[in-house]
């Protein structure tokens, strides 16, 4: 599996640029690409979320805002320009820094959260060979980077100098750090079976055998634990207690406005995408077509495979999981702090540990 930085460097070689310049240029191109992807995904996902919630709540959702006079149809595509209008509104609203806030920390916090999401994308694959940088510790890197954001959340909550924000930040810290454990233990299972931390190897195993979700009953539980813990990591309902709207107003984001708030929003949606892509890669066969679930079809049938189809399949799976997240959000109420901790420490972690044990035995017997 190649990485896109290597590919870019190769394509620059005829230009005879100095090596350092070529590296910087290729990193910049990749960075801009990730940023655009995040922005695009946030735009689409916000619109999607609005329409999904409207559909579930028996309303229409945004209907008025269009793009260049195109207002869309009567039902689904109405208000297609709403997110763009919102983005412009967010970028042009006043950026308020409260007088008593710790201004330096308050300015830094959104960047840290954003950096966490941005850096995670370096290890995230988009298809076979389309990955910014292909580490041999890819899964570990993604796990590590996705937990950087919590520092930003604590900083934001503390620097706001608002009791509600502080509550949100503390809840968030406790929640994210706790749920890292079942998340990590569930990731360990595919790694254990494959014997490699490299994302390409993990998907390669699934191409040869079957999707990990169907590896064994324990792996199915592991997928469930992983996905629900991922929900908790991204602070989505039913685990949105750090920003519990009805309790803490907006939690750690209360004092933020304008562009800084938009960055929080962008990171939140980016995190959703990250969790969805990682769960698809680890458990749902990544960029493999659904024909490869059990690997029973003859090779000649597999014409939906390949790099381009890979992007399609990966994003189909990931977006479906994003939809499931939204579905959860509009169906479930919010857990209480102690119930959240109960679920993590007394349910998920024992189950994840037992899973680890049973999958090891399974491997010992069946492989």
């Amino acid at each position: 599996m190649t990485s896109s930085i290597d590919t870019l460097l190769l394509s620059f070689s005829p230009l005879n640029l100095p090596y350092s310049v070529a590296v910087v240029i290729s990193i910049l191109i990749n960075g801009v690409f990730i940023f655009l992807l995040m922005a695009l995904f946030a735009t689409v996902a916000v619109y999607f979320e609005r329409k999904v919630s409207a559909f579930m709540q028996d309303r229409l959702g945004p209907m008025e805002a269009g793009i260049f006079g195109f207002k869309g149809g009567k039902k689904f595509w109405g208000g297609i320009g709403q997110t763009i209008a919102d983005a412009i509104k967010l970028l042009t609203t006043e950026d308020i820094l409260p007088n008593d806030a710790d201004k330096k920390l308050m300015i830094i916090a959104p960047f840290i959260i954003f950096m966490g999401a941005l850096l995670t994308f370096i290890g995230i694959p988009f298809s076979d060979g389309i990955i910014i940088s292909n580490f041999n510790i890819g899964v570990f890197y993604v796990m590590a980077m996705s937990s950087v954001g919590v520092i930003g959340i604590i900083l934001a909550g503390w620097a706001s100098n608002n009791k509600w924000s502080l509550y949100g930040a503390m809840r968030s810290a406790a929640q994210i750090i706790s749920y890292e454990i079942p998340l990590g233990l569930s990731i360990l299972l595919p790694v254990l079976v494959v014997g490699s931390l490299e994302i390409g190897d993990i998907v390669g195993w699934q191409a040869q055998h079957r999707w990990f979700i169907f590896h064994s009953p324990f792996m199915f539980i592991a997928f469930f634990i992983f996905f629900v813990s991922g929900l908790a990591e991204t602070n989505r309902t039913p685990f949105d207690i750090p920003e519990a709207e009805s309790e803490l107003v907006a939690g750690w984001m209360t004092e933020y406005s304008g562009f800084r708030w938009a960055i929080f929003f962008l990171s939140e949606y980016a995190n959703m995408l990250i969790v969805s892509i990682i769960s698809s890669v680890l458990f749902l066969g990544g960029w493999l077509s659904p024909m490869r679930i059990f690997n029973i079809f003859p090779q000649s049938w597999l014409f939906f495979d390949g790099v381009v189809w890979g992007i399609f399949w990966l994003f189909t799976k990931a977006l479906f999981l994003v939809f499931v997240m939204m579905w959860f959000r509009w169906t479930f109420p919010r857990l209480r702090v102690d119930q959240l901790m109960h679920l993590c420490w007394k349910v998920f972690i024992p189950f994840a540990l037992a899973n680890l044990f049973f999958v090891s035995i399974w491997e010992l017997i069946f492989s």
Partner: protein, 377 residues
Amino acid sequence: MSNQDKSIIKAEEMVLNMGPQHPSTHGVLRLKIHTDGEVVSKIEPIMGYLHRCFEKHCENLSYEQIVPYTDRCDYLASMHMNHSYAIAVEKLLEIEIPERVEYIRIIVAELQRIASHLVAIGAFGLDVGAITPFTWALRDRERILDLFEMLCGARLLYNYIWPGGVSHDLAPKFVHHTNEFLDYFEPMIKEYDQILSGNIIFVERTADVGIITPEVGINFGVTGPSLRGSGIPHDLRKDEPYSIYDKFDFDVPVGKGMMGSVGDCWDRYWVRMREMEESIKILRQALGRIPSGDVHSAIPKKVRPSKGEIYSRYETARGDVGFYIRSGGKNIPQRLKMRSPAFCNLSVFSEISEGWMMSDVITILGSLDIVLGEIDR
């Protein structure tokens, strides 16, 4: 979490100011919360941000002019306030009401009860974090408001039930449209049950939380669904039937502790759900046998009761509302005092919510279903 398993290590208390601008205090209630971490040790509710001198105003207004003011007390159940005030004045005047008027009043009162309970359960869901039931509830409430609009042109503050009668006779096809609404709404209750009543997280959040024991409930003067949630079948429609409620066949649902202990938040919610079903029962009976007649015949030309005083009770969506009126023989009351059910229900709030967590405080407040317009008056 309850009173006994508070953590042994006590940190410094933090005083949080919740409201009057807070999404979950149901209006302009302000709560001063003393917290130790997430656990709440003391709550001081502070009221009065919506005080409009209702009772003092009434001493300077004629009896007819007071009706729109009662609308603004409990703005989610204006019909009930109109009705309760009208009953009090009629008792004072000692006038007989035509039967058609009584039927119309009961129809609008029960429709209003459904509308008010819909807001209550929807907002309660919102308090625990479920957004979808709220929009569903408001969608169905909208249809009731449409019916009221058909009736009197107003959607929130109706000024519909006057002492001696109602402002307008039933609109043509009103009965038909109401029947249509009931046919639509009855299956909807099942849908609410599916998304909320049985929702595992909802049950987790509300069962065994904020228990009002029957003794505490009675001692604090809690009434309405909040008291019935504690298992006490106290309903003025049954106990002291006013208007013509004795002619109808309906049950008084009480909390049974199906998901936790009797009198928890889930029970209060559940009682409201079942009360909507009972209201539908009453409505079907009333719509079936509504007599004809003139709705304006009993409205007195001049409301000038002789000297005396009266206290009348009425079961609103929130509990017993009481009107004490003392007449000095003039066309304005000498003194008018309203017993606000939500105010008494709120008084139990700090008693039952101390020792719970921050999130539970919101849940408990939501389950009491307060309306600040009525508390502050």
